[in-house]
Symmetry: C2
Amino acid sequence: MLTKHPEIQSLGGKYVLVSCLAERLSHYVRLTEAESLSLTQLEDQERSVRRGAVIIRENEGPRELYIVRSGWLHSSGVLGNGSRQILRFHFKGDILGLPLLAFADSPETVTAVTDAVLSPFSRERLAQIIADHPRLGALILGLSVAERVALADRLASIGRTSARARVGSLICEIVARMRRLGAVGNGGYVQLPLTQEDIGDATGLTSVHVNRMMRVLVEDGIIERNGGNQFRLLDEKRLVAESNFVDRTGLETGWLPEAR
Amino acid sequence: MLTKHPEIQSLGGKYVLVSCLAERLSHYVRLTEAESLSLTQLEDQERSVRRGAVIIRENEGPRELYIVRSGWLHSSGVLGNGSRQILRFHFKGDILGLPLLAFADSPETVTAVTDAVLSPFSRERLAQIIADHPRLGALILGLSVAERVALADRLASIGRTSARARVGSLICEIVARMRRLGAVGNGGYVQLPLTQEDIGDATGLTSVHVNRMMRVLVEDGIIERNGGNQFRLLDEKRLVAESNFVDRTGLETGWLPEAR
DNA sequence: ATGACTTCTTGATTTGGATCAGGGATTCGC
DNA sequence: GCGAATCCCTGATCCAAATCAAGAAGTCAT
């Protein structure tokens, strides 16, 4: 099965299946072979979804989590008044459906922003990995905590900063995460497949006001837009400063238990 | 050492140290003796702190996490403009300092709202517990995910609802958590040692506006205030509905690995 | 008990962002 | 290649919550 998988790489003379999660984690720690293998098996399935598809639906009890192999997605919640809050964007190597580890019914809807490829897996397989490799369990705990902190950062941004700073910090966050994925093109252009309504739903603003904020950021020479849905962050220092953005794409691993 | 600890209980004929975290987790799963013992040892130290004390300071690299034994605390972040966002209130059985598992420097400040008693422990001891008892690791992952979801709920509340609903949902959350702790007195009175400025910093409002919202909630017969810092939720159904509050104090445990 | 802080409360005014409205540009499905 | 959606953009108006101001009540330290 391994050799038939579409994403095969030659590594150290052996053929291994590439796991997006393993790849991400290996930026932070050196995984053992056994750990790598377990993570790779977690991603032995693959499912393509179309732009706009709903992967996990609020208040339903899905049976699977997913690892993102490619594409953009977001988690959101819909309130009684019909408005939507986008909670988090998800990129390659992110885990979708973590709330399933705490609640039977999903508190969030996960939607594909672009066409995307996902690897579904069951909670039970994750439980097996945690049991077999406690260090991976601790790492996943770290990822979960990092997401908690990212939500806290956005909470502070929405609760206590201006519309301009909210849009600014979202832009900074996207650039920082794209950079870590190596997805910032030559010339610094970054793909941005979001509508202004998406950005508004993520920052607690209306699309009308997002439009105005984008315009002033362009006028002030902080960002540049490029017809197609791409943009370039011209004055990152200034935007980071005025938006109170803190890059937290790293992951502390000094405390982890020994690999088994 | 066990027998000298201030909080000793007779249980099944044996003397055991009471662990607040173990007590909390045992609401969700039946812990094995070995698991209980490990958690109890995690809380073998005790530190009293005064109202207003700062336990963990933003941007510093503390060495310890804490379990709350008693008292109210909160995590907050201070932005460049000097304003403060309270991210989360912490009660008995909560773990303080989880962000340390992902970042060397704390992204948050933890402050005691009331006098409090904490049990400090090191990341390494937590790592040991995860290695020895993967199921406890998975449970702590569940707690971390639950906190992530709670922050997402507040994010949606602040991003997409009115001032009245933001205050309302905070009240609902506090009542739900106090109830789970058995801290709702006879007659339904709940302690609320927060200033209106605290409530504002948690909901993204000014203290002036919090005051007005509290007044209309009282006028509408939804809550009742009682001179001292106590209140009673008279019409919970209505407040839950109008504030889009969802009680997520449960914890899904069906997926956990076997206890070892 | 006394003075110094906090905290609460309420009124008056201002303002940042929402809402309403409409035209233009793209993209998509057939 | 054409019609129909989306999505983007901008002006005019409105409103919810911020800000400013100031007095009352409560709490704390000595």
